[in-house]
Symmetry: C2
Subunit: 231 residues, 2 copies
DNA sequence: GATTAAATTTCGAAC
DNA sequence: GTTCGAAGTTTAATC
């Protein structure tokens, strides 16, 4: 990896055409040929970048460019897509190279899968009297997160999201439509459960006759007893 | 901005819980307190990060940590959400600081808005005999990209995407449903236009009686005459 | 390999 | 300030 702080301008041509005016920025050249251009702000997204697989070549600026103050030209190209990124470097303030080696990678937990597992084990968080039929209940267009039965025997399709948005309601609507064709399941009750639900999603759900439940992750986690994980 | 190459392990607790085992990585501390942790691979997304607004503090490792080889501890916290990122540094290989100043920002062109403008000006790319009613035709749930009329007077709702996926078909379906309630427009013909359309989106569109058109961006751009931009 | 859904998404605009 | 859709999205899972 090579890390450079330089005053430069940047041009990109690919999915779109973009230009960065002359300024001082952080350039990160990774071993796979990819390049990131960061400013001292914004979030983790670079101002501009080139994704691997790609190749970086350093070239001499032509006379016109030299007169404009360009001392070095970096050209990064993606062979397949013909995307090209050109960095016109005026001044290099710092230039560091270091071999990082492979990274063991991120170990994470606590995402949607766990939320689904928690809800499946504590259906009372959705409604009283529900019993689990199965998680990831298959349909022609993909599995429903949870299928359950109410105490009166009605089938309940539950879609679980971390953030409930309009797309999730659409997804659940499609599942319900398919499940409703099964005479053993019809009529389906549909529940949209998420840690947070946008107002628009709530409105659409209400319009479609879909119930909304806001989940409390900490409460679900806290209520889980060690024994629950055995089932 | 401070740029450090260090052998470290990282722990994050917030939306999820995550851990990075000991390895050599690039640490970028931006002026707004945010921190990025990059490996020598992957795309532009860091292995781990903390988004602004947040505060970074450097602390002395306790005795246990020191015995484990930790020479420095960085704690980055987000006040509102209580997210916390802790970097346990064992060895610093490089440590650079540089004031970058504000960035003028990216100038870009060629995104969906332009695609919409091009199609509105060249409705023959959709079908022969169409005439523009208006772009961004308003409905209760948001504007339809383009509303046009066929030569026989039928209203045509056109949804334009760069990449046509199932969501776009759902969106267009909702628009058509609403527009169909207007006696001056009914019955609505719906067209889903995109540079690429996924098979599943095509299938759903066909099932809903929505036409699909694959757009050729370069052709649209090339066919545009200077005069067209006046209208 | 293609496709789909999720992301600690981020980013920008409209309301 | 919220909310919502788009992104040169990226990434992981699934077919």
């Amino acid at each position: 990896m090579r890390v450079v702080i330089a005053t430069c301008s940047v041009d990109y041509a690919g999915r779109l055409t973009a230009h960065l005016p002359l300024a001082t920025r952080l350039l990160i050249a990774k071993n796979d040929g990819s390049l990131l251009i960061h400013s001292d702000g914004g979030s983790y997204k670079p101002l501009n970048w080139m994704s691997p697989p790609c190749v970086m070549t350093t070239l001499e600026p032509d006379e016109t460019a030299q007169e404009a103050g360009v001392t070095e030209l970096w050209r990064v190209t993606h062979q397949k897509t013909a995307d090209t990124l050109v960095v016109s470097i005026h001044t290099i303030h710092s230039d560091i190279a270091h071999d990082l080696g492979d990274d063991p990678g991120l170990i994470k937990e606590g995402v949607e899968a766990e939320l689904q597992r928690l809800v499946a084990g504590q259906l009372e968080a959705i409604d009283d009297g529900l019993s689990l039929v199965r998680r990831e209940y298959p349909t022609a267009i993909g599995p429903v997160d949870v299928l359950a039965r109410s105490s009166d025997g009605t089938a309940v399709a539950i879609e679980i999201k971390r953030r409930g948005e309009i797309d999730g309601v659409e997804q659940l609507t499609r599942y319900r439509e398919l499940l409703d064709r099964d005479p053993h399941l019809r009529p389906i009750r549909a529940v949209f459960a998420a840690q947070e639900i946008t107002p628009q999603a709530k409105t659409l759900a209400a319009d479609r006759g879909i119930e909304c439940v806001v989940l409390d992750y900490d409460a679900l986690r806290g209520a889980e007893t060690p024994g629950d994980t055995l089932f």
